[in-house]
Amino acid sequence: MAQTNAEVLQGTLDLLILKAVSLEPMHGWAVAQRIREISREALQVNQGSLYPALHRLEYRGWIVAHWGVSENNRRAKFYRLTATGRKQLARELVQWRRFATGVELVLAAE
């Protein structure tokens, strides 16, 4: 199973995290899980890069963290999108779509 998973593309991890936590506040493991589920197991977040990315985004002020209680009543750190994070997400989405469209056009050429 793991072999068929694609590593998340460099640079897209931030976008994916922002998107994931924009749906609802969630803790680190849930972020990884959500990305894997939504992508139907196609995208595998390297967990070693997940937390550095979370902390980096928090440091930039795009997400904030607070301690809450997880689904099975455990203390967990939940991340949620801030206003600037939302703007950033919008910017990155636009950029990504332009990029993806470009790539698609090139690959579709006869």
Partner: protein, 895 residues
């Protein structure tokens, strides 16, 4: 807004480092836990799921560091953390840490202390205005080949009138006066100066004014200036001292001003340099008097005045020399008294500092070498340690720590080391400076003003810190080149070698250390042998168990009535009474008097030998000394021919004299000295004996010809009582003070000390230089030997496996010892060879400081080289023996 929040979070992260780290740990733990549970849900066993979770997690170390880097646990926090790690590391390696700290501290401390002295003595501006324009104007005598004679009063007047190259020309004459201004009479050091001399020197009074013309003339109003220190000490820095009347040697005088300390800078050195001049009693002038002698009292043939000039604008020492030589030539043709006399112009600063410059230059060189050796040693220590840590670096890099991160940590570690070293160095410099000032001879100008020089401290600390930083970085740079895999494959505990390049650097450093230290030790050896030669000189008199007490009879009640001379009953009676009473004191085995104590050269006079007047006219002046009966016995001076001066040689009987061996050989060779007549002061003195040479002008100088006459036939108001005692000399001081007080309470005593202390003080400067150089030499060689030992024992440990293989293949333990120690011997020999060459090249720094040995003294060179090689052999043998003791089997397995 968000930026503020980010900053706040950052700050919180720094101050709440502990809680941030805990939160991160908790977050990560939860992740692994949830991942494990997910694995179990997928059907894995608990253990397998946990392992999979951990594997998926990746390098924990790298992960943590990245997460922390990202979360704003920034530079500041990491520096603090690095410092804590560094301290922990150093605590775990106390030997390494203390070696580095001590080495740095010694280098920094010694340099700062010596440079602070040099700064205070040589580099600080002098209190004189435009000091570079000040010159000494000496007289020369072609007949006696003297070049530093004082001048006559009429010569000074003529020079003043005719010279265009000198803007000012003043004169001075040192002495001591008894000052009565309060309860007790006090003997103070005094300097009589022409009223214009303060202006020529360019000193401004702290208080009041300097002299005006007329204040030094006979019968005029007498004025006096006080030296600042004396004013503070004696008058409590009271400004109301101006206008106060005091009695100086029986004459009333008014205090008109206070001159700042340092106004007398160089005057003691001028006196010491002069031929035929008594040295100043103290280098600090306590009272300044005005000097306006009459040509009648001081005719052209007497030369008592030291002349200081100030170059006119545009004039140079050379142009002044040329002009004054011309004027002196004119005076020579005009006056028969000036026959053979010329001028010698010398820069004043050269006279002031000429004596200490060579010694201080040598000491600067020495401490600079010590600093270099210290830096090399620190470099070596760090290098050896760096090799040990190469593996640590490789492992940390493999775990994901960035090079920048590791570099930073090593720099912090190095900073902690050097900061500690510098701090200890400051303490050493502070203590060392106190020690230097205490140890130093009294004749070094301005030494007491020495204070820790912050610029020098900063400079030396910066050098040391730069060196240690540079070498702290080596392991990191080195590790970048290392093949990570091969390093990591090594068993834990195995050291990684510094590599061929590193070893080469280490060997070069060891050679450099030895090469730097050897010249120092050789220099110290030469000075030690020189000092030994100096101490071995028989001064011609015996100083042990002798107490010296100097005194001065006040002029008021002990007049010098020249119409009655030499029958000056008051003076002669005091001397005789004092001597007989002191001789009667219990504990006194012998006692005598002399106008000057045996280490005070006193003054000189021109003289003639009866029947050889024409010849005598070209002779230099002769030292004139005045002694009481019993002098030879008390001082242990040998009688070589004829008889000694006796109790019966008093005023009224035939004037008699004895001459020393130098005088007999110089002026009476080929004659029978006893029976000759020597004439000075218009008195024909019949020579009754020849005595041994006393080194009254210092043990390092050849004894000058001298004539001794009875004190009773040439009365002096100043005298030194010399008492040979059965017990410790100072025990008699109270009894002698009592005797003097009973005879006359107004007589001031001074210079009360055991004579061997006076002798020791006379060679204080060479002792000072020798002691310091020996200290620095020992320091440098000790550091160098630590270097040899350190590098070899490190190398031996590294080659444990090689030694095992060698021994397994049949090498004996002796072979191994030879192998390891041989390397040390080769390094030390190479260093010593370079060091000897450097010492030969640097021997000129010693040339002016040695006595009785050559600056390239073969004995010192040989002994030191052999000793250094021997010590290096021991330093090499210890690690070699350890290498040879290793069990071959164990050695092989340990790899």
């Amino acid at each position: 807004m968000d930026r503020w929040r980010g900053l706040l979070r950052r700050l919180r992260a720094v101050f709440a480092r502990g809680s941030a780290a805990r939160e991160l740990d908790e977050e990560l733990r939860l992740h692994v836990q949830l991942e494990t549970e997910a694995g179990v849900r997928r059907g894995l066993s608990e253990g397998a799921a946990r392992r999979a979770a951990l594997v998926a997690f990746g390098g924990e170390d790298r992960f943590r560091e990245e997460a922390r880097d990202a979360s704003g646990l920034t530079l500041l926090e990491q520096l603090g953390q690095d410092a804590r790690v560094a301290l922990r590391m150093l605590r775990r390696n106390p030997q390494f840490a203390s070696a580095v700290v001590l080495t740095l501290a010694l280098g920094i401390g010694a340099n700062t202390a010596i440079f602070s002295v040099v700064d205070a003595v040589l580099l600080q501006p002098t209190p004189h205005a435009e000091p570079e324009r000040l010159v000494m104007v000496w007289q020369t005598d072609r007949d006696s080949e003297t070049r530093h004679e004082p001048a006559s009063w009429p010569d000074l007047v003529d020079l003043r009138e005719r010279s265009r190259t000198l803007a000012g020309l003043g004169a001075m004459s040192a002495g001591a006066v008894t000052l009565i201004g309060g309860s007790e009479p006090e003997r103070v050091s005094a300097l009589a100066v022409t009223p214009d001399l303060p202006g020529v020197l360019g000193v401004t009074p702290l208080l009041g004014r300097t002299f005006v013309t007329g204040e030094g003339a006979a019968g005029g109003p007498k004025a006096a200036l006080l030296g600042e220190s004396y004013w503070r000490r004696r008058f409590g820095a009271d400004p109301a001292v101006l206008g106060r009347r005091v009695v100086l040697d029986g004459e009333p005088a008014t205090i008109v001003g206070v001159l700042p300390d340092g106004a007398d800078l160089g005057l003691a050195q001028v006196h010491a340099r002069a031929d035929y001049s008594a040295p100043m009693a103290s280098s600090d002038v306590e009272v300044w008097l005005a000097l306006e002698p009459s040509a009648e009292a001081f005719p052209r043939e007497t030369h008592p005045f030291l002349v200081i000039g100030r170059l006119a604008p545009g004039a140079t020492v050379a142009s002044a020399q040329a002009e004054l030589a011309e004027i002196m030539a004119e005076l020579e043709t005009a006056y028969p008294e000036n026959q053979a006399r010329g001028a010698n112009v010398e820069r004043y600063g050269d006279v002031t500092f000429g004596g200490v410059r060579p010694a201080l230059r040598l000491l600067i060189l020495a401490v600079a070498l010590v600093l270099l050796v210290a830096c090399v040693n620190v470099a070596n220590l760090l290098l050896a340690r760096g090799a040990v840590r190469a593996r640590e670096v490789a492992v940390r890099r493999a775990l994901g720590a960035s090079t920048a991160r590791i570099t930073r940590q090593y720099l912090v570690e190095s900073a902690v080391l050097t900061a500690t070293g510098a701090a200890v160095g400051v303490a050493l410099a502070w203590g060392g400076l106190r020690l230097l000032v205490a140890l130093a001879p009294a004749d070094i100008p301005r030494l007491t003003a020495a204070a820790i020089d912050l610029r020098v401290l900063g400079f030396t600390a910066a050098v040391a810190i730069l060196v240690s930083f540079a070498f702290a970085l080596l392991p990191v740079l080195h590790a970048r080149r290392l093949d990570l895999q091969s390093v990591l494959k090594l068993q834990a505990g195995r050291r990684v070698s510094t590599g061929r390049g590193g070893r080469r650097v280490q060997r070069a450093l060891v050679i450099a250390e030895v090469a730097l230290a050897v010249p120092l030790v050789i220099g110290a050896g030469v000075l030690l042998r020189s000092f030994q030669a100096l101490s071995a000189v028989d001064p011609g008199f015996r100083t042990e168990q002798v107490l010296k007490v100097q005194y001065q009879l006040p002029a008021s009640r002990y007049p010098m009535d020249f119409s009655q001379w030499p029958n000056l009953s008051a003076i002669n009676a005091f001397h005789a009474d004092l001597l007989s009473r002191v001789r009667a004191l219990p504990g006194v085995t012998a006692a005598t008097l002399a106008a000057r104590h045996p280490l005070d050269p006193g003054f000189t006079n021109s003289f003639q030998i009866a029947g050889r007047e024409a010849e005598s006219a070209h002779w230099p002046e002769i030292r004139c000394r005045f002694i009481a009966p019993g002098y030879l016995e008390t001082m242990g001076v040998r009688l070589l021919a004829g008889r000694a001066l006796a109790e019966t040689d008093v005023a009224g009987t035939t004037p008699v004299a004895v001459v020393n061996r130098a005088a007999a050989e110089r002026y009476l060779a080929g004659f029978e000295p006893v029976g000759q007549v020597i004439r000075f002061w218009g008195v024909p003195w019949q020579i009754v004996g020849v005595i041994g040479d006393e080194h009254f002008n210092g043990v390092d100088a050849a004894t000058e010809p001298a004539v001794y006459t009875p004190l009773a036939q040439a009365p002096q108001r100043a005298a030194a009582l010399l008492v040979r005692t059965a017990t410790a000399p100072t025990q008699l001081t109270p009894a002698i003070r009592r005797v003097v007080r009973e005879l006359d309470p107004e007589v001031a005593l001074f210079g009360v000390e055991p004579l061997d202390r006076t002798l020791a003080a006379s060679i204080a400067r060479p002792r000072f230089t020798t002691t310091l150089l020996a200290l620095f030499g020992a320091l440098a060689i000790a550091l160098a030997l630590v270097g040899v030992y350190g590098v070899l024992s490190y190398g031996a440990t590294q080659r444990t496996a090689e030694m095992g293989i060698r021994m397994a293949l049949g090498a004996s333990r002796a072979d191994v010892v030879r192998l390891v120690a041989g390397e040390g011997a080769r390094l030390a020999a190479a260093g010593a060879a370079l060091g000897v060459l450097a010492a030969l090249a640097g021997s000129r720094f010693l040339a002016s400081l040695v006595f009785g040995v050559s600056a390239r003294d073969a004995t010192s060179f040989t002994l030191v080289t052999v000793a250094v090689l021997l010590m290096a052999a021991i330093a090499s043998w210890l690690p070699a023996r350890r290498a040879a003791r290793a069990d071959p089997a164990l050695a092989l397995r340990s790899d």
